[in-house]
């Protein structure tokens, strides 16, 4: 008789069951949506030195009414290593450890009700990553949406969790780099040189002043002499007096 291991009668049903369960265990729906920086409307602060703004995932997670949608923010290099089963608010995903100890954190949780579909016209549906400054150092708030400490680059994705089980995720975004402030010394205040205005004014006025000074010198030099103005010499109006000269030294003879 061949020795064979005794087989349980239910083994034949177990294996197909196991095969059925396996896809369900790795059954995180891969949504093709990719989070993007907001371009509509054009925001001045779409990226600042410590925040950035992405669109809300409207009409993306349809059907996942019981799920909580989290935003995962990761350093660019750590994005591919992110473990979807790492729960939010644990020491591996707390914001306060980012970026030294924690390479990716989870924040901005919301239910599907916060992202109604379709988006109303004129509504600005954005998420500002980095807007909560009050809890940035508070370890009792590990899911804090704190300001980003380094310029990046970062990648983000949305992850839907039912309880603690991830059920759907979007694709990672393209790398997002924040703005860096340049030092003040980089502002060049070197003048653009002198304009034509100033050169014209200076030249013309200098010439005029020189002519006037020359005229003054000529005037004083010819003070005494009746110069070229003699043909037009004119007398003072009120001192027109006729001088009488006693040419003959006629004196009143005293009575001799």
């Amino acid at each position: 008789r061949p020795h064979s291991r005794p087989r349980h009668s239910g083994v034949h049903t177990m294996i197909p069951l196991l095969l059925l369960l396996l896809p369900a265990a790795h059954g995180i729906a891969q949504l093709s949506y990719r989070p993007v920086l907001t371009t509509e409307p054009l925001l001045e602060g779409v990226t600042t030195a410590s925040t950035f703004v992405v669109n809300q995932p409207r009409c993306i997670f349809e059907g996942y009414d019981n799920a909580v949608i989290w935003l995962v923010v990761a350093l660019d290099q750590a994005a591919s290593n992110f473990n979807n089963t790492a729960g939010p608010g644990t020491s591996e995903t707390e914001f306060q450890g980012f970026p030294d100890r924690v390479r990716a954190y989870m924040t901005l949780n919301a239910t599907l009700g916060s992202y109604p579909c379709p988006k109303a016209d004129g509504e600005i549906a954005v998420l500002r990553v980095g807007s909560e400054t009050s809890c940035a150092q508070d370890v009792t708030r590990p899911t804090c949406n704190g300001p980003l400490p380094v310029p990046g680059p970062y990648r983000v994705k949305f992850l839907a969790l039912e309880g603690s089980v991830p059920v759907a995720e979007t694709a990672w975004s393209t790398p997002i780099t924040l703005r860096t402030a340049k030092p003040l010394s980089s502002i060049s205040t070197a003048g653009s040189g002198h304009s034509a205005d100033m050169i014209a004014i200076t030249t013309i006025l200098s010439i005029l002043l020189a002519i006037l000074l020359a005229g003054l010198v000529a005037m004083l030099f010819f003070w005494g002499s009746d110069s070229c103005g003699s043909s037009g010499s004119f007398s003072k109006p009120e001192s027109v007096t006729v001088r009488r000269y006693n040419t003959h030294h006629v004196y009143d003879q005293p009575a001799a």
């Binding site: 409307p41 054009l42 925001l43 001045e44 602060g45 779409v46 600042t48 030195a49 410590s50 925040t51 703004v53 600005i124 954005v126 500002r128 807007s131 909560e132 400054t133 300001p147 703005r179 402030a181 340049k182 030092p183 003040l184 502002i187 060049s188 205040t189 003048g191 653009s192 002198h194 304009s195 205005d197 100033m198 004014i201 200076t202 013309i204 006025l205 200098s206 005029l208 002043l209 002519i211 006037l212 000074l213 005229g215 003054l216 000529a218 005037m219 010819f222 003070w223 005494g224 009746d226 110069s227 103005g229 003699s230 043909s231 037009g232 010499s233 004119f234 007398s235 003072k236 009120e238």
Partner: protein, 254 residues
Amino acid sequence: MAKSDDCVHILQGLLVFGNVVIGMCGIALTAECIYFVSNPHGLYPLLKATENSDINAAAWIGIFVGLALFALSILGIIGVIKASRTLLLVYIILMLITFAFEMASCITAAAHRDSLTPEHFQKQMLERYQKSEPANNSEVTKAWDELMLQNHCCGVKGPSDWQEYQSAFRLTHSDADYPWPRTCCVLDAQGLPVSLDGCKLGVPGYYNSNGCYDAISGPVNTHAWGVAWFGFAILCWIFCVLLGTMFYWSGIEY
């Protein structure tokens, strides 16, 4: 000689007319410079901070030159009518001195218009706005706040000034809470932002997106142009009158 007398009278008439015009221009120059010195747009603290207060000095010189021109024009008229050599000599010399001062004022005003670039104001604003240490920075802060409130503008080239460069403001106000100062937000009647989130995000309509450089450079350029070119025109006229006076003087019988 009748013909010579006619020439004399014409020359006297021209000189008197010339001096009257100088007198009136002197008054106008004084009035214009008093207007600029009275700081109608509140820009003087900003100009002082960029070490560009020479335009103000040019205006002050303009005030005194204008008054001197008025006084000298009266002296000139008297001297021409009386045909007095001493009076006219004094007139000519004093007028030359005034000419030199006004020339300095014009050139200063024209030269300093060139150095009013946006970068100068950016640097000064980023260095001193909301910086608390030296006490005179509060003047600069107040001037910028008033400028931004009245003209509905932000920064020199725009709110991005605060993002592109480091600043004293950034040291005391975190980037996440204050990407740019609150005065850049559209404010309601109570002086509070209409929508703080809208302002922080930079949503059009909730913040002032244009820079204040136009609001600064407009008045300052007018100021500098007024002092420089009006002064230049007056000086050209004075040149002609002085030449005529010198000619007249040399023809007066000693």
